[in-house]
Symmetry: C2
């Protein structure tokens, strides 16, 4: 997590989400052999246009799985390009399975065709589904973000459920229990910048009540680096997101559609103009976050 | 879920798990161009040898993702072979993401290169991560099994947490809350055999305490078809598993390693002898389950 901290210190907390489904591509995509080829080429121009603004990139594997084997070849190409360029990449895969299976997944996503620097994980099955990934953090400097409190409407179904209180303890929710286990893991694998190899996914939810909660979460889980979804197209503001950072670091804020499809506001955009529009959107987002951090 | 009910009625409740990592393959694998090619060929002989004993097959995608693009090509081939043969297949993918992403995943795993009949899903992010898959149940007869109470040690970390009691209500755990939401969904999408299109993953855990719990779960969630992991190599007995069925139906019991690697008890097994050993292991398992159902 040290590398990501340093990238945020240098370039700000924007994470560019490459959720490149065919609907995100300008009409020029028709020039390519397939949607997957077009997506790989589009990702490349977006990366080139935003590399001095983005702390890191997040690649949503579902958009590529939907295109089958061809899509996963494009996914692999995009990861390889990012890693060749020494840019940091989070594979948004939200895997979570028993230990033996987690080992297979970790090999899949921390080496070979699909090698990424970070992954996202789902905690439902418990810590033995998380721990096998940690060996890679130790041996290869990899990291992970575990779902804790997400930004979607459905988060209230299970993440938000209130737990039976223990004596002399404040009320806790399911996501608090996840955070506590992650904090213990982070404390035992803490980097030189004060964050554990495994951070948490904590989304922005624009409501006054949830701002208080965000402040509480940020203060309580100070050893967890946050991956923050929900900004932009999903409704979160710069102020909501800034509350989940610590003086502008300690987290990255992801935006996908608002950057990738910024070209839709223009007439007749091709890949080149889409890249410029993406750059402008990422710059504005970074400016808004930095302004919000100051306030 | 009607098709799966009928398959269990006809052939018994065994689900053969094709978690075909290279370590499962007999030495003959060296004759193939790659581990992925060997795995695809091995899956085929295992399927041919067990098709009149197995209710269905479960393919653990992690074992294939670990071999990169080649592995996923093998995964795709195995799914295609099963579907050509009109055999039912569960893609064990445990996906769980926001609604827009869930739509992409559903397209990925219910059509195209990775088309399966059923998938496994993770509920952590809530019901809006589950519901998009349901459209495919209605339009294409697909189904899903959502993680509820799994069979691994870590299940106690979050699935088992006790929830704050509501007035006049028995104590409930996180997995009860998941089961309740699934039961409501199942009631609104119930097939002609009495089960919803979406069932639950409920694992066997061999302890007397958990047998009581299994009986309670089976009685309470009678509209949910169960996918039961944990049998065999993971320690669950036929009696534990039978308690999660309803008169021998209403669920399938998965075994992977104990079937795939039954050849390891023999000397010099090749693919053909491995297939016979797998058949014998599957037959014994079916016999043990049918015996346990009677008791």
């Amino acid at each position: 997590m040290d590398m990501l901290f340093d990238a945020v210190a240098k370039r700000g907390p924007v994470c560019v989400g490459l959720d490149t489904s065919p609907a995100c591509l300008p009409p020029e995509r028709g020039r390519y052999g397939s949607d997957a080829d077009a997506a790989a080429a589009f990702n490349r121009v977006i990366i080139d246009a935003t590399r001095d603004i983005a702390a890191c990139y997040k690649v949503q594997i579902a958009c590529y799985e939907a295109l089958g084997i061809d899509g996963l070849r494009c996914y692999s190409k995009t990861l390889a390009y990012l890693r060749e360029q020494k840019l940091l990449v989070i594979a948004d895969i939200k895997r979570g399975d028993i230990a033996d299976t987690a080992k297979q997944y970790a090999a899949a996503h921390f080496s070979g065709d699909f090698e990424a620097d970070f992954v996202t994980l789902s905690p439902y099955m418990g810590m033995d589904s998380i721990e096998p990934w940690l060996e890679w953090a130790v041996s290869r400097g990899k990291g992970a973000f575990v779902l804790m409190r997400t930004s979607n409407r459905g988060m209230r179904d299970f993440e938000y459920l209130e737990l039976a209180p223990k004596p002399e303890e404040d009320s806790r929710r399911v996501y608090d229990a996840v955070g506590e286990k992650l904090a213990a893991l982070a404390a035992s694998h803490c980097g030189t910048r004060g964050y554990g190899a495994f951070g948490a996914v904590v989304g922005v939810n624009p409501s006054p009540y949830e701002r208080e909660e965000a402040a509480r979460l940020r203060a309580r889980f100070d050893g967890l680096f946050f991956l923050v979804p929900g900004y932009g197209a999903q409704g979160g503001t710069a102020l909501d997101a800034a509350m989940l950072l610590r003086e502008g670091n300690g987290g990255v804020v992801n935006a996908s559609r608002s950057i990738l499809t910024a070209w839709k506001k223009e007439d007749n955009a091709d890949f080149e103009r889409a890249a410029l529009a993406a750059r402008k959107a990422a710059e504005e987002m970074r400016g808004a976050l930095q302004q919000a951090v100051k306030n």
